[in-house]
């Protein structure tokens, strides 16, 4: 087996991974990004909408253009991006086993940044295995990357930002979004995203869920029902909607298998997607030399992922000796200030609380580890 020594391996080339690689490479570290997909950019290239945030987060720029910018920057800094390559396992002393569809190789990085993002939560109901029941992320990939419309009459399950944004993008393809159902009594996503679909005439039914998908060989209809306060379906409230696509957008969870293999300790923060690898403000996990950034460290959004990636990249460069602690601190503070400002308000403050719990947990655990 071939072994390759590098300063830093970044797993995942989404907004967090690219930002991390750019920072570390900027200070002189040799960086390799590993991504299992055929194209780099994570979810960025299917985000055809303009991003929110501030100038530092490319606010007002469409996701795919942000992906292009980050990718250009990484390439200019001679970051090696290894595509179609799965990081399948971890060996002694944090070596990463890679499979590039032809052979197995071993990466021997001095530091590792895990930026593997998230996976979609499934939702089980009778008929959920019929063709035509899909995750919202998959639908978004099909329509915006592969330009294939998987259905013309859609039921969206979940009114968080993903459900709302993908509904809007389905409308943009010319599909008809028959309804959006949301089990909770209120819309989870931003008002402005909800307003965009509402003013095209898509009803958002809160306290409603899907009961069953029906169809012979594929989805032909969906039964929905109202929910009572205990989230139980109200008898007699069932309605059948003629749809050929049921799109599931009921949240994400950190894709943290690699962190488990790297022996990182976990904690449970429901608001951040469930089990998350414990880390400190510099994004280092309980396994020294292993950092996390982006959704794998708690489900948030792309702008946060970019800031966390920057912090992880600076921290890695610092511990590799490419940048003084003083200078690193100065740079990290800027990112941390912006992150703080992001985690205010009804959407942000529960995330700040979740992150604070993770940081506290790190302090407790790492004392024990040392």
């Amino acid at each position: 087996m071939k072994e390759k020594e590098i300063d830093l391996a970044v797993v995942g080339s989404g907004p967090a991974g690219l930002s991390a690689a750019i920072e570390a490479a900027k200070y002189g570290a040799s960086v390799e990004i590993i991504d299992e997909n055929a194209l780099p950019g994570g979810q960025l290239f299917k985000q055809i909408h303009k991003f929110f945030g501030s100038k530092e987060h490319y606010a007002g720029v469409r996701g795919y253009d942000i992906g292009r910018k980050l990718l250009d920057e990484a390439e200019n800094l001679k970051v090696n991006i290894r595509l179609n390559t799965i990081a399948f396992g971890v060996f002694n002393k944090n070596k990463i086993g890679l499979f590039d569809q032809r052979s197995i190789l071993v990466s021997k990085p001095k530091k590792i940044i895990v930026a593997t993002g998230a996976s979609e939560n499934p939702l089980a109901f009778p008929g959920w295995s019929l063709p035509g029941v899909m995750g919202a992320g998959a639908v978004q990939t099909m329509i915006n990357i592969h330009r294939v419309l998987p259905g013309r009459k859609v039921l969206m399950v979940g009114a968080g930002n993903v459900g709302l944004i993908v509904s809007y993008q389905l409308l943009q393809t010319g599909a008809d979004v028959v309804a959006i159902v949301e089990a909770m009594p209120k819309i989870g996503g931003y008002f402005v995203h909800a307003a965009k679909v509402l003013r095209i005439g898509v009803p958002i039914l809160t306290s409603h869920t899907i009961i069953e998908a029906k169809g012979d060989k594929e989805v032909e209809s969906a039964t929905i029902a109202a929910l009572d306060q205990n989230l139980n379906p109200i008898k007699g409230s069932e309605k059948e909607l003629e749809v050929d696509l049921i799109c599931i957008a009921v949240g994400l969870r950190p894709e943290a298998d690699l962190c488990r293999m790297l022996n990182c300790k976990f904690t449970y923060i429901p608001f951040l997607g469930g089990h998350v690898p414990i880390h400190n403000g510099d994004m280092e996990t309980t396994t020294p030399g292993v950092y996390v950034a982006g959704d794998v460290s708690g489900i948030e959004e792309a702008s946060v992922a970019m800031e966390e990636g920057r912090i992880a990249g600076i921290s890695a460069a610092e511990s590799l000796g490419y940048i003084s602690s003083e200078e690193a601190e100065k740079e990290k503070i800027k990112c941390k200030e912006r992150l703080k400002a992001f985690r205010i308000g009804p959407f942000g403050s529960p995330r700040q609380e979740g992150k604070d719990k993770i940081f506290e947990e790190y302090k407790r655990r790492v004392k024990n580890v040392k």
Partner: protein, 160 residues
């Protein structure tokens, strides 16, 4: 439930919504962004300093009415497609509304379109008087509608 009235109430009590007096003075930006979300491109887009977000970035955008000249630069700058331009003085009987639009095909100048309220209900017919590309694939469509609908008309039915 989110219906026209609830949405309008929520927007009206936010600092981005113009006063009645300001509406009467002519073209003005209507910022329909009533939640504390981290976003501020509108602030920078305004050449007249008429939109204030400040710090923290989660502040709700505030319209400084006297400074707004109704240029419409903020419309395509808003990633949430939440800013509209309303001119209730367009003519004796008509209001002109400019709205952000990201659907194809585009309407043509002179077309008659179905005008929708905030929950997508048909309220009246409108006449397209201007179609321009605002910025990076966000188009600005200006329509004329009967004056009294200035507060409810916020969309047009996408053409198929």
């Amino acid at each position: 439930m989110l219906n026209e009235q609830n949405i309008l109430n929520k927007i009206k009590s936010s600092p981005g919504y113009p006063s009645k007096e300001r509406f009467l003075k002519g073209p003005v930006a209507v910022i329909e962004c009533p939640e504390e979300i981290p976003c501020n491109p509108c602030e920078e887009a305004c050449p007249f300093g008429a939109i204030k977000v400040g710090e923290p970035i989660t502040n709700i955008p505030m319209l400084i009415e006297d400074k707004c000249v109704g240029c419409g630069k903020c419309i395509p700058a808003c990633p949430g497609l939440a800013i509209f331009l309303v001119n209730i003085n367009y003519s004796e009987k008509e209001t002109a509304i400019s709205l952000p639009y990201e659907f194809l095909p585009l309407p043509n100048v002179g077309d008659e379109v179905d005008v929708l309220n905030r929950e997508g209900k048909f309220i009246c017919k409108g006449k397209v008087i201007k179609v321009i590309e605002g910025e990076d694939h966000t188009w600005i469509i200006t329509i004329l509608i009967p004056k009294e609908f200035f507060e409810v008309a916020r969309g047009i039915k996408p053409l198929k």
